[in-house]
């Protein structure tokens, strides 16, 4: 049944309702001052009870007072600047739908300023957009969470390093007192071999502890972003000779063979303290894994092109192919290390130090038994000559 056409009297709201009824979207007209609904079409009335005379904020949005998001003031401003309409998207809490609204300022026939509003339901489109926005928010939250975890981890790591550095420094002084006292005792002890052996044990323990502190401090220095590696020209044969002399003193001269070398002077750009720790670690490892009386650890210095190699061969159980890369990882302990003390830091430190010197460290099986660790570094200058150190 069709509504009768009201006879063409535009001052009659019914006239407009019939015209608006042909529009498939919700439409209403409201007084800009009193917020009273003047008329609404069928599509509007199907959604809300927007009958003539009701307040628009109450009838459409369920708000007893004008809505905080009301666009009337904005519409007034737009009209002043020459445009009589605004378009925007709005979510209506009342029916949980999204609308694209076009609101136009009109002079109603009885002289009132009124707003003509037409709404297109865009809920389906907004749901897709909102799903994306929610995913974006979730990603941003995860990012924040990960960042927080990273900062916390960095802080813990920094605290650990600071603690380690502090403890290591604090240990040096009492250790040097113990070491010094052991040497003084040795001077007094001329006729008691048992006491001499005990003093030697103290001396070895002090050196071992001192080496461990060096490793800890090297790790701390390498991990600290603020401490740069200090590079100088280091005489590599000289450094090797010093390390071997020290290790022979500790482990016994028969446990380290004479260094074989095809060069007598070669300089490398290195941090001498760190390079000493790296080579010492390799020699200590070789001594640790070579059984007593299995033969000496062999150290060799060779050169190839513009690089120089230091190799340390032990007589230990060897390292399986599967483990050759992993043994340089932090805290990794080889399956053959069972029963041998260690923290899994030594070879990690060696690799870190050598990496900082643009060098390479690798391991291969020994000629007969054990393993050969080789450090390769860029040479600065060298003089060839067969020499024994």
């Amino acid at each position: 049944m069709t509504a009768p056409f009201p006879g063409g009297n535009p001052t009659d709201p019914g006239y407009w309702e019939v015209i608006f009824d042909v529009i498939p979207f919700p439409v209403y007209v409201a007084d800009c001052t009193s917020f009273e609904i003047i008329c609404a079409n069928r599509a509007m009335l199907q959604r809300v009870d927007a009958k003539s005379g009701a307040k628009c904020h109450m009838a459409i949005y369920g708000q007893p007072t004008p809505c905080s998001f009301c666009r009337m003031p904005q519409l007034e401003q737009a009209t002043e600047s020459g445009s009589n309409y605004i378009e925007f998207e709005h979510f209506n809490d009342r029916d949980d739908r999204w609308y694209q609204l076009r609101e136009t300022m009109v002079a109603w026939f009885d002289g009132r300023r009124a707003k003509y509003s037409i709404a297109v339901d865009i809920t389906a489109l907004k749901e897709v957009q909102n799903a994306l926005a929610e995913a974006h928010a979730e990603l941003a939250l995860k990012h924040r969470q990960l960042n927080g975890a990273l900062v916390a981890e960095q802080e813990v790591s920094l605290n650990q390093r600071n603690f380690l550095a502090m403890v290591s420094h604090e240990f040096r002084m009492p250790l040097s007192i113990i070491g010094g006292a052991a040497q003084v005792l040795e001077l007094y002890n001329t006729d008691k071999p048992e006491a001499g052996e005990e003093i030697a044990k103290i001396d070895r323990a002090v050196h071992r502890m001192s080496d461990l502190i060096d490793v800890c401090l090297a790790d701390e220095r390498l991990a600290s972003a603020v401490t740069a590696v200090q590079l100088n020209d280091v005489d590599l044969p000289q450094l090797l000779a010093e390390i071997c002399a020290e290790k022979r003193k500790m482990s016994g001269p028969e446990r380290i063979a004479t260094i074989s070398s095809d060069i007598d002077h070669v300089f490398v750009k290195a941090d001498s303290g760190l390079l000493r720790v790296a080579i010492s670690n390799l020699v200590d490892n070789a001594l640790k894994y070579s059984p007593i009386a299995s033969g000496p650890v062999e150290i060799a210095l060779t050169s190839t092109g513009d690089r120089v190699q230091v190799s340390v061969a032990d007589r230990g159980p060897g390292i399986s192919e599967a483990e050759r890369e992993r043994i340089f990882e932090k805290f990794y302990r080889s399956t053959s290390a069972t029963g041998i003390r260690g923290a899994g830091l030594g070879l990690y430190i060696v690799k870190q130090i050598i990496d900082r010197h643009h060098g390479l460290v690798e391991v291969r099986p020994g000629a007969v038994t054990g393993s050969v660790f080789t450090i390769s570094l860029p040479a600065e200058g060298k003089a060839s000559a067969v020499a024994n150190l």
């Binding site: 708000q63 905080s68 809490d93 909102n130 928010a137 924040r144």
Partner: protein, 123 residues
Amino acid sequence: MPLKVIIVDDSIITVKKLIVLLEGLGHQVVATAGTGIEALEAYRAHKPDFLTMDITMPDMDGVQATASIISEYPDARIIMVTSHGQERMVIDSLEAGASGYVLKPVRIDKLSDMIAKVMERTA
């Protein structure tokens, strides 16, 4: 164990809907607030387990209200429940300290998931 919750929204209809949803999930709505200032006062009075926050409100908007609550209670769990899906709003809210973001229309499964995530994140 029901969680204590405050609803902050100037739309009476939204507040009513959220009460139904949250109580349906077994939580206890201890207060509602229609402005940012009321939200801060309600938070001080009730110290809820979490709070839902609208963005568009009179006086202080939801982003500012979130920042105010977080500056006083850094561990506060605030879920933005809003119709604003623009990237800038999302970023502003999260930077202000919000722990979750739910866009209207609010469905019970979406809200329930977000509450679980927020409680887990800040547990």
